[in-house]
Subunit: 412 residues, 2 copies
């Protein structure tokens, strides 16, 4: 991707995050609401960090949120971020963000002026690198570019007494979304020239570029995922979208004992129907995190660990220990389903206390451990049926990532 971005010149992003979230009906501004335990803005920052060609990320926050934002950056290890104090309105905040590249700083924090600056929202976490690059390149070429989407509802104007004045033809209009990108000089010049009325009541950066820098923005049809988290239902949707996206890949850790291999194989066959990628790895091969990280391209958040001996948590414990040495669970809760092969179900009480203790410890590191008993003392047909039920349970546990159920022992 860096190759694809090489003609772009220096690129930065300004992320206004000063909104108060009144439409959400919550006291917490929406950019700080947590989704899967992590503030929304951290998810958005992650999207920009994946694009290594974006050199600086300017986050503009209200002064009362500065400490909170610093804590978020520290906790999730965000890189390349500079914090700037916001203004009274969105436009004033963006303007403050743009100023860090142009004004002289008394300290050493001067930041190199970018050729292209992307403007995005803190509450649009699902922007992908391809589309960012497309918008940035288009801005470099045309001076300005922005994402658009078809209108979901017809837009109308009302008279002052609350009656229909006129309605717009839906097909001729578009919703202006984010990201937008600009040649830095184009947008900075526009902000320098615009009026207080623009700064206080305007909503559209593309409009400023047109009016004050005489640049017509190129409009690019964006994917539906660009939507802005505005209402409480959007937080629900965002959580479901993230849960789905981190539940695509599954790693089955198993040892070479006969019964483990057999159940592992059956599970593999069944789970393949529910996940984009399922890979099995021998537990003996799974001693270093390096190996584990190379199983998939990208991070794997879901593990099945097959333990053979009746009271044995060794495999699961090893995996927890290994995952704890990494930062993997900082971003997302990891799920380990600790599968136990049994020949009788009366010993579940003893097993339980082991899983619970292990799960309680692991939970502190954002690793969610659930137990699953599979009785292997059955004929082939019965075992097939049991594994099928176990697959449904595993899939449900991974999809929900429910912290209240860690340490519970399910029975397939």
């Amino acid at each position: 991707m860096d190759d694809a971005a090489k003609d772009l010149g220096r690129c930065a992003v300004v992320l206004p995050a000063g909104g108060c979230g009144e439409r959400l009906g919550s006291l917490t501004p929406k950019q700080f609401c947590t989704v899967l335990g992590r503030p929304l803005i951290s998810h958005t920052l992650e999207a920009f960090e994946r694009a290594s060609w974006i050199k600086d990320i300017i986050v503009v926050v209200a002064s009362e949120s500065l400490d909170l934002m610093k804590a978020i950056i520290h906790k999730y290890g965000h890189q390349r971020v500079t914090l700037v104090k916001g203004g009274e309105t969105r436009h004033r905040s963006i303007f403050n963000g743009l100023k860090v590249f142009s004004e002289n700083h008394s300290d050493d924090t001067a930041i190199d002026k970018p050729e292209v600056v992307i403007i995005h929202d803190a509450v649009r976490p699902f922007v992908d690198e391809d589309f960012l690059l497309q918008v940035a390149k288009s801005a470099k070429q045309h001076g300005a570019a922005g994402a658009i989407r078809p209108l979901v509802s017809t837009v109308i104007a009302s008279s002052s007494d609350g009656f229909l004045d006129y309605s717009l033809e839906r097909a001729r209009h578009r919703a202006s979304e984010m990201p937008q990108a600009f040649q830095y000089d184009v947008i900075y010049r526009a902000y320098l020239q615009c009026t207080d009325y623009d700064l206080d009541f305007g909503t559209e950066c593309l409009h400023l570029a047109l009016q004050y820098s005489n640049v017509k923005a190129k409009l690019l049809e964006g994917p539906p995922d660009l939507w802005k988290v505005t209402y409480k239902r959007d937080l629900y949707a965002a959580e479901s979208v993230i849960k789905e996206s981190i539940s695509q890949q599954l790693c089955i850790v198993t040892n070479v004992k006969k019964e483990a291999i057999e159940v592992g194989f059956l599970l593999h066959e069944n789970l393949k129907l529910h996940y984009k990628q399922v890979k099995a790895v021998s537990s003996s091969m799974c001693k270093t995190i390096h190996h584990l990280q190379n199983i998939f391209h990208g991070q794997c958040c879901n593990f099945i660990c097959i333990n053979v001996k009746d009271l044995d948590f060794e495999e699961t414990q090893n995996l927890v220990d290994l995952l704890q040495t990494t930062n993997a669970s900082i971003s997302y809760p990891l799920v380990i389903v600790s599968v136990h092969l049994t020949t009788e179900d009366s010993s579940s009480g003893n097993k339980l206390s082991g899983v619970r203790k292990l799960a309680k410890e692991a939970h502190k590191s954002n690793i969610l451990v659930y137990g699953l008993l599979i009785n292997i003392d059955q004929d082939k047909v019965q075992l097939q049926q049991t594994v099928c039920e176990g697959t449904a349970i595993i899939t449900a546990l991974i999809k929900d990532r429910n912290p209240a159920l860690v340490g519970q022992l399910m029975v397939a």
Copy 2:
């Protein structure tokens, strides 16, 4: 509410449900996608059935969906519904719906012409009766009325070569949403006069009323819940909204034995913090559905059933039997958490087989039974802590309504 609607005259609704759902990225049209196991359109129909002053519900569906729609109406027992075959476009479908009140039918299906007709979308399930009445009354008074919402994004127009032409001032425009309502003659006359271009490319009924019946619609600010399920994320959001709305009330069924009362009281105290309404009812009082139905105003979807003897499922079995005699679980999956008070945890294996069998049977009637063991052989402080953990598990089970975990025995 019928009193409030008495000056309205006869009222009907037309519900176009012919869309193909292309924006959802799914082969199933979105109105037939299931949310909590039930097609979205059935949730929307329920919202209209609650308003008893709406006499006729005209559902307009594509001819290929007629049989599916009939099956849905039958399965969920929808009343007052008339099915009409849709047209090629939304406007043509609405027109077809309106015609049933005006054209002579060869059979006996002629339907009384309403004074006011509401037009809504099959994919906006969260409309409440108060707002419907408000829109209908406003239409009766002014000839036409419609819901509006503030714009979430700025609206722009693009030139033919894909560049920004102009952007609209966001504060001066609104998104036109549903429901809308009209004096029947106003909207029918408009449809009779409008052009093929209107019918094929138009999107706004309020516009037709203005242009062809010279009626300016009154615009009413609607609640955010009116949004249209358009994308896959909207299905996620709809599911979460419904799950939340049916997880507000909780009924604790307990018998009069000392330990049951004690744990029941502790649970009650803890659960009150998580639910709008928690009521305890003695199991002896809970023998007829009449009593159970009168516990809350409206339907209760969540039950905790406290069983005292070690291997006893009697209370839970009674409750399942009772709920099965009603239609309660047709609309939504009901949750029963079967709480078992124990003095040792080694017997859980035996208990398990009982819960699983019971849960498997109950699941066939859309009743989700989960087991929860609470060890009461502890001192007061420990018990308090255990009940607290049990509360977290109960709350998670009720919130998720996960069918894959029915019959599992959790341990608090």
